[in-house]
Symmetry: C2
Subunit: 204 residues, 2 copies
């Protein structure tokens, strides 16, 4: 059993560093040697644990990326009351993470989607699946918000989810270059405005 531990430890070191470099430099622009250099490991070690670069990346997506997106954007929302507030809170948190140069994984995900679009359908499938999990959870939460009296019954939950995800991905793309603090501020301000629009109208 000890051997399995060592195996998994090495694999996770590779995956963790791999995700970091793939995110920073892009998948196609990151060589396996780049990753191995950072870990002082050799080609042999890599191909002992993984079949190919693609196989390696898919394992990162399924093991690391999925969990991170889930714990950052899905879990904080799931089953909570007052959906509009928890949603905007989770997005605020993600953008704050982004500002501290740490990886915010919603953006990591959308970055990879952009990179693999039209190039690798299989990987795209894995990435879109994660996106779908987020979307479905947003929709469910919004629907529940309707029955709980937090969200206006007339709003189209799917459309709102689309709009929220879109704007988040977009603002993150803009934030890569300078003044991300101001961008974040203005974005959140408008998101909250928009949320006022779809929140349960108080009866006069």
């Amino acid at each position: 059993m000890e051997k399995n531990l060592k195996r998994m430890a090495t694999m996770q070191r590779m995956q963790s560093t791999g995700l970091e470099l793939f995110y920073q430099q892009g998948y196609y622009n990151t060589s396996i040697d780049d990753i191995l250099k950072k870990l002082s490991l050799s080609k042999g070690a890599f191909y002992y644990h993984f079949q190919s670069k693609e196989d390696f990346f898919i394992s990162i997506v399924q093991n690391l990326l999925f969990q991170k997106v889930y714990s950052m954007l899905v879990e904080p929302i799931e089953g909570q009351e007052d959906p509009l507030n928890v949603i905007s809170k989770s997005i605020e948190d993600a953008l704050e993470t982004a500002e501290h140069n740490t990886m915010d994984f919603g953006f990591v995900l959308s970055n990879f989607i952009t990179e693999f679009n039209g190039k690798n359908p299989e990987i795209m499938k894995y990435l879109m699946d994660i996106m779908k999990v987020w979307e479905v959870n947003l929709i469910t939460t919004l629907q529940k918000g309707k029955t709980d009296g937090y969200v206006d019954r007339h709003v189209d939950s799917e459309a709102v989810a689309t709009y929220v995800i879109s704007s988040y991905i977009g603002v993150r793309t803009l934030m890569v270059e300078g003044n991300s603090r101001m961008l974040r501020y203005k974005y959140i301000q408008q998101l909250k405005n928009y949320f006022k629009l779809i929140s349960q109208k108080a009866v006069a």
Copy 2:
């Protein structure tokens, strides 16, 4: 003078095909040979006209991409009355272009921004400059809309511009994978909802 015409004709053929392939496959994933093969031209011809791959790309950005973004997203808005309607119209047009698999250049731009982020600061600068032109124009148009009585005086024009650009870039990213028709529909619906929020309140 005839020689100059031939020179420019060849250069433009290269740039046009280059933009197409760079957009489809990404810059780093597209070899110069790919482009030359499609044009039945040789390496010698390429390096006769351009100094390097990077130089070539920058010339595409400045000559082609800038013009396209400008004519698609800036010109239709500039100086028009009823800014919220012309803005949503221009975005609707862009998304319809996208659905017919034609390049919509706002997205081409944001794609390149994603690809070059953290890799090539010089190219990033050129790309962000174009983005800035769009943003500034949106802000100016919104401000004018205030004085003309179309836009609520209390809205933060810069924040609205940020929000509009973000959501557009984001929804385009999502549209790469299937059901773009439904996405577009839901997105436009919410954009118009949002615009209602910031339009001049009719006095009761």
